[in-house]
Every structure is written in structure tokens, then in C-alpha cells.
Subunit: 247 residues, 2 copies
């Protein structure tokens, strides 16, 4: 058996943990990072550093059209929405947040699938692999516990995505090779993700989770609050927040 | 009831016919054209002209990353494949052609869906429309008769796509508004499409179907052959090929 994987690496805690996990699961792994002019493009630099540290192929994909297409979101068009303020855990868990970007995950998975399908078709048609002896996997880091408000963080959505990727591909219709969608942390709490990251030796000090792009995490956005809670409950110090004592 | 639509307009005979049809079906229509450095970028100019003639909003979307991502295709990477030669109708209908671009239609539909979802969320959340009184539609021009080799031209694929768009969207999970996928010519022969186009007064002389980007259609590629066959069987002269007699 030979397996190829594509992992969606944003540079945050979750996707870096999933990417490190994916490295142990497939023979050939490529990380994709999307650049769409969001407010925290700092993640891109982190993703590049992380891919280099892990020694995997990395592609930065410019999808700047997203702000014009998926325009109804505070993430793609911050000026259309009020400044985010600190929200309670209850508020975070009720309804779909204003940071929701229409069909963003569907787009990310489809782009990952197109790259994966290209690799697998090439393996079959140009390199002579037996289609019964290869497999394809898309790794990503949705989470159903802490972000239950997002529609694209529910397991049933990924079942539907897998089917539409298969039905729309030559890989499945002609060779019966599916593109599997792997969501290894979907049922984990943030504390469990931190524990998994530590077990896997994830380079945590290079990850960036904050929605803002400042030098230090804002500590107020949904993402900062959930990350802090995760480290607290797991009983670990977040290396990103560890500062040398001066003066 | 208020309805919004997004139509995928490549500038070819099929998509122009579907777009003209869509104009009669929804209250607000936007045409999207994708630019991905394919060999027949001439279509883009045709699409812009056609949208202007039909008086609809038009967006040109740069997805030039496609050649790098969906790289295993003669359309995105012509140098990787041998020069296309004229193929018989039987050859066209057997297997998936080398012009197949991995998951291209899935990507196009997802981008259309992201724009449609933005419009409908705005209608509900900012303009106060009742979610029970609005509908959303994505129009596109796949065809199951002449292009049976393409996996993304089969009706069952669109059933799966509709489900994954719904399950991955706030529009469906929160408001129960689906994004419908409309494929009005999927069961028509090319001759029937030509007849439909003539009935709808489609500006046929501005459409461009050829895979090559020359001044006149090559007459040899799959697309030229099927278009010629359609006009012949429908008993009409293709206005694109009508040349003034000189000399």
C-alpha cells in the first residue's frame, strides 16, 4: 500500500497538531496554507516555519478572491462588522459566529482534494501504481466541542463532503479510489488537543491562534480564550506566552 | 418570494444558453467567470461581452492557483500531455478525457455557493427578509449526453453537491434555506441546446466553445466537433462560422 495525504495547515495549535499526526499516517504529505487577506496573516509565516521544521512540502495558495466572494463575514470584511469584543464561553457556543466565512471549509477541502486527486491520478496513470494499492487522505482540524457554532465542524458535514468529492472525481468514478477526510481532533476538548500536541512534540512555540495579527496574542478573541482554557485545563504553560523575566 | 441566482458563465454555447435561461428564473442574477490561465482565455472576453449584452452583474475570478493544484490535466498543464488530435465521437464518449481538470466543477460550484450564501445571509440578517420567503439557485451547464466521460456531468453528482453545500453552510444549518443546483441542459442533446438557444435569443455570435484560443475555432477539438454536430442536427448555421464572401 502507498498513501498520499494533504493537510490544511493554518499555523494554529489545532492544524499544527493534526499535521504532525498526519506525518505518522501517510507516505507522502503536503501541507497547504491559504492566503486570503484575512486579519491574521501572521499565521502564514508561522505555517511556513512549521512546515520547514517538520520537513514537509508546503504550498501557499493565494485565494484573495475570497473577500470578494464570501464577503458576508467579519473575517473577510472586518469593516462591515462591529469590533469583536471578549465573549463568554456560552456566547461562543450559541449560534454561528460573525467570523463564519461562507463555505470556506468546503472550498479548502475541495482545493486539497484537487491536489490529492492530481497526485493519485499521476501515480496510477504515469507511474503505474495499482489503484487497489493506493489511498488518499485529506487531514484537517475542525472541532465539534469548542466550536459547535460552526456548521462545518459537524461530523455529518464531512460524510457529505467525502461523497461529493468522490462523485465529482475521475479518481473515484474510474478507479474507485476514494478521497478520505480525516478529522482526528473533531471530538477532542481543547485540553485533550494540548495533551495530544505535547505527546507528538508539536512545535507549539511557533503556532499562532489569535484572530488578530499583533506581536502578542490579544487574549480576547474566541480563539485566544479557547486556547488559554485548553492549556489551563491540560495543566501546561503555553510556550507562546512564556516571556523571559527582565528588569 | 425573492430569489437570487449565480450562474457560471464561461462564454461558451452551453453556459450562455443556461445564463439566458436563468435570467427568466430568478430576481437577481450574477454571472461568474473563472480565469485560470487555461489555453482558451478568449472565452473570458466573450463572457464579459455576453454579460454586458444581457445586462447582468459579472465577476471575473482569478483562480490561477488551479494550474499548480489541479496540475494533472492537459487543460491546466498542456506541456505535460501530447497535442490533442481530432477524436471520433466514440473516442470522445469513452473514458474521462485528458482535458478533465481534477475537481474543477466542485470548486466552481463551491465558489458560486459562497457568493450566493453571502447574498442570502445579508438578505436575512441585514435586510430583514423572512428566510421562508427566499430561495437560492446556482445555474450551470453540464451535459450528460455529449460529455458522458466527465464524472462531474452526471446528475447524481449534483445531488451530492447540493447536500454538502447545505451541510457546510450557515444558510442551511441555521435558516434551512438550501442552495439549489440547476442544470437545465443536462439531459439535452447538443442539437436541443442549439434549439433552446435560438428560442431564447442567445447572442450566439459572441459565444466561444473551442479549446484553442485562436481567431477562428480549430474545428478539431472535442468542443468544436460537438458544437458543429449540434448546429448540423438542429439545422441551423453557426453564426460564429458565417463569414462574408470576399474576392
Amino acid at each position: 500500500m502507498w498513501s498520499a495525504g494533504v493537510t490544511l495547515l493554518s499555523g494554529g495549535l489545532d492544524s499544527t497538531t493534526v499535521t504532525t499526526h498526519a506525518l505518522t499516517k501517510v507516505d507522502q504529505l503536503t501541507a497547504l496554507t491559504f492566503n486570503y487577506g484575512h486579519t491574521h496573516s501572521k499565521e502564514v509565516t508561522c505555517a511556513q516555519k512549521i512546515a520547514k521544521m517538520l520537513g514537509i512540502q508546503h504550498k501557499l495558495i493565494d485565494i484573495s478572491f475570497l473577500a470578494d466572494i464570501a464577503w458576508y463575514s467579519s473575517l473577510t470584511n472586518p469593516t462591515r462588522f462591529t469590533t469583536p469584543k471578549a465573549r463568554t464561553e456560552q456566547e461562543i457556543n450559541s449560534g454561528v459566529p460573525i467570523t463564519y466565512v461562507p463555505l470556506r471549509n468546503t472550498m479548502f477541502i475541495t482545493i486539497a482534494g484537487a491536489y490529492l486527486e492530481s497526485q493519485l491520478l499521476y501515480a496510477i496513470e504515469a507511474e503505474g501504481y495499482d489503484s487497489k494499492e493506493i489511498s488518499g487522505h485529506i487531514f484537517l482540524a475542525p472541532n465539534a466541542i469548542d466550536y459547535s457554532g460552526y456548521p462545518d465542524c459537524r461530523p455529518e458535514y464531512y460524510d457529505k463532503m467525502r461523497e461529493s468529492l468522490c462523485y465529482g472525481s475521475k479518481l473515484w468514478t474510474q478507479y474507485k479510489v476514494p478521497m478520505n477526510i480525516e478529522t482526528p481532533i473533531i471530538h477532542l476538548s481543547k485540553a485533550q488537543i494540548v495533551e495530544m500536541a505535547i505527546d507528538l512534540n508539536v512545535p507549539l512555540h511557533h503556532t499562532w491562534s489569535c484572530y488578530q495579527g499583533n506581536d502578542i496574542p490579544c487574549g480576547l478573541c474566541d480563539s485566544c480564550i479557547l486556547r488559554a482554557k485548553g492549556f489551563l485545563e491540560a495543566g501546561f504553560q503555553d510556550p507562546l506566552l512564556a516571556r523571559p523575566i527582565t528588569g
